[in-house]
Symmetry: C2
Subunit: 238 residues, 2 copies
Amino acid sequence: MRYELYYWPSTPGRGEFVRLALEEGDADYVDVARRKGGMAKMMRLLNGARAPHPAFAPPILKSGPLVIAQTANILLYLGRRLGLAPTGEAGMLWTHQLQLTIADFVDEIHDTHHPIASSLYYEDQKREAGRRAEDFRKNRLPKYLGYFERVLDRNPQGPRYLVGARTTYADLSMFEIVSGLRYAFPRSLARAARRCPHLVALHERIGDRPRIAAYLASDRRLPYDQVGIFRHYRELDG
Amino acid sequence: MRYELYYWPSTPGRGEFVRLALEEGDADYVDVARRKGGMAKMMRLLNGARAPHPAFAPPILKSGPLVIAQTANILLYLGRRLGLAPTGEAGMLWTHQLQLTIADFVDEIHDTHHPIASSLYYEDQKREAGRRAEDFRKNRLPKYLGYFERVLDRNPQGPRYLVGARTTYADLSMFEIVSGLRYAFPRSLARAARRCPHLVALHERIGDRPRIAAYLASDRRLPYDQVGIFRHYRELDG
């Protein structure tokens, strides 16, 4: 069965967390909005007058009759299907808990450049962004990275994976977080990473996995930019 | 089996979404941090040196050997246990998708008074809060409420519940959202509510459910305040 992913075609954004799972899981999928006529199809899915399960925002995954939105929810579903999460309840919940904490982290990364309103340009909230980014660099970034480093450190099966002894969607999402931060906050990340050797090693290990490496080298992987979650503004990096 | 809920004892906050599910589900539970010595117990759970599944933040639910964090994740678990979610995969995912959108809404409500840093006082980010709250009133509040009104309107089983024809944890959380907004943004909510008759009716219906009504009248229900998510600052309500 072919999955259909719907996400803004111009930026990796939250869609990237889903793409990484589809790629590592060797899933047959179409990145709909990046195809000709795909944006119109996505807008119909978002604004369709009678869909019984409307989505608030992309990403959206169509899988047969199912239409699933919310990044972490899509990964909860794909984790089972693609063997990217434990099958038992305890492991399933723990993996999802980590993903939801990653989602909170993503929101805070986004808000460093948009602390006032997503509907305004960065330039219209630059002063506030400066204040928020300062708190992010000093408090939030070290707190989140320290937390995930601790999770790796305490994994009873060793620090190679966030959960157990196999790759889960949480590892793939953590790869994306480190990649994105390396682009957006290179100085701050380099400083924080000194205390997070397990996270740095996880990032390298995931990037070296054959399917992920092939994906990263392909044109299916979108470059980071200045419209998505991870944006590089030198003045915000301290 | 007795559930243990761990959450800050001074404010409803995110713990309230869990409490409402426990109450409606007639669960045997202890609100640990509100008991004598409970705060110390919660801090040990948060900072314990060797816990294999550390939590980033409360709320945390202990259920036998399971230690579960992240509000939506706790509700995913309790939904199954307490009969507050459909048992089939499609219904389970749809309920969870709504809960994750509620979680995003909660984050945005919080950030109206704390757009710069949780670690600073409101007074230290009052100017920025004014700008963010203006965007919230004009754009985000109507967008979120309009979305959930649409979900009720499109429910093939009628507009009485968000999912199907029975109360789910998403309905209980939506009750809490409307209650909290009525406290924090009374003018803005009153204005927006005119376009959301199904949501207003859902709020009343949930508040009238026997177990919820008994809970609301008890001292287990904490009042809203000026330290939690829902805070009333007249200047932010437009």
